[in-house]
Symmetry: C2
């Protein structure tokens, strides 16, 4: 998606260790007009799919997900990053490569269940650990994962390859080939 790629080049910041900071327009300060445009692009890319629910994970996934839900007039559920001591919850554990620790992610069984056809939306796809956690929750719920849409995919961390090799319909609006030498190289 051209507008996003241009914005990453203009406002993204690259740091040692494959870190891309986009907190100017995606995950701390957010550009709502760009968010809406990206949501329109997801609607286009998943136009052939039957979806009844948008799923995301707090906190940075919420803004793009609510825009997609708004356009499609579908409910949006955000998974919570916390150990759930509550009943009626589906829970999974995700390993964060960046932070080198695990965390729990949970969703109420009231809002993800059999019969749901789910489109998952998130800001980043890197090694795919969070995405795999979501797949686990969708499986546990007996729901169907229709597709996964990400604003930015870091191709060199290979989470996308793994998801696609499972047959999952993955769409990323900007694919980062490399951040070597702190230079942002985006796939055409």
């Amino acid at each position: 998606m051209k507008a996003l790629k241009e914005r990453i080049i203009r406002d993204g910041k690259c740091f040692e260790g494959g870190i891309l900071k986009v907190d100017n327009f995606i995950n701390h300060q957010m550009d709502p007009i760009l968010m809406k445009s990206m949501a329109v692009e997801f609607v286009r890319r998943f136009a052939g799919s039957s979806i009844n629910k948008i799923l995301t994970i707090e906190a940075s996934g919420i803004a793009p997900a609510i825009m997609v839900g708004y356009l499609l007039e579908l409910p949006v559920v955000f998974a919570k990053k916390k150990p759930s001591t509550m009943e009626n919850m589906l829970t999974t554990t995700v390993y964060s490569f960046t932070k080198d620790r695990t965390y729990d992610v949970c969703i109420s069984k009231d809002y993800l269940h059999e019969g749901d056809k789910v489109l998952f939306i998130d800001d980043f796809l890197a090694n795919g650990n969070a995405a795999n956690g979501i797949i686990d929750l969708v499986d546990k719920a007996g729901a169907e994962l229709v597709g996964m849409g990400f604003l930015i995919e870091k191709a060199f961390q290979h989470g996308g390859d793994e998801l696609r090799s499972q047959g999952i319909h993955v769409e990323s609006l900007a694919i980062i080939e490399s951040l070597d030498g702190c230079k942002i190289k985006i796939r055409d």
Copy 2:
């Protein structure tokens, strides 16, 4: 706001200790059409104010805030609930009455600074502790707080009274008078 009040009566759940659960349409599963309608109502209520930035706090504030930002074509910044070890951050400490513990809230100085005219949007106003944390961050940044908009105010926890007595323009789209006996009583 009529649509929100009706939805609270229909789908809100009340528990002992003044707890109102609205996770069916606001803070776990979200209704994006209602979110947009609530954002329109905020635009109307703050129509006389000069605003250049929307501020909120993760996670449940993000959805209503991005909708307000989208309508007004303004950037939206979400404060993060975590101890910030990073440089260039404004930090404050908030006491959570519900959880009986404190947590840190931080915003980058890049995204909140002198000259900013800020509208704060959040899902709940109860005792006002989070709101007071935001006021502290806005003060530290040398920015101006134009107003604070909440989807739901629990009047019996008096945070709204305290904010209004400071001269802050507070707007709440539904005001809960009481949850006594687990009966939801909403102000007309």
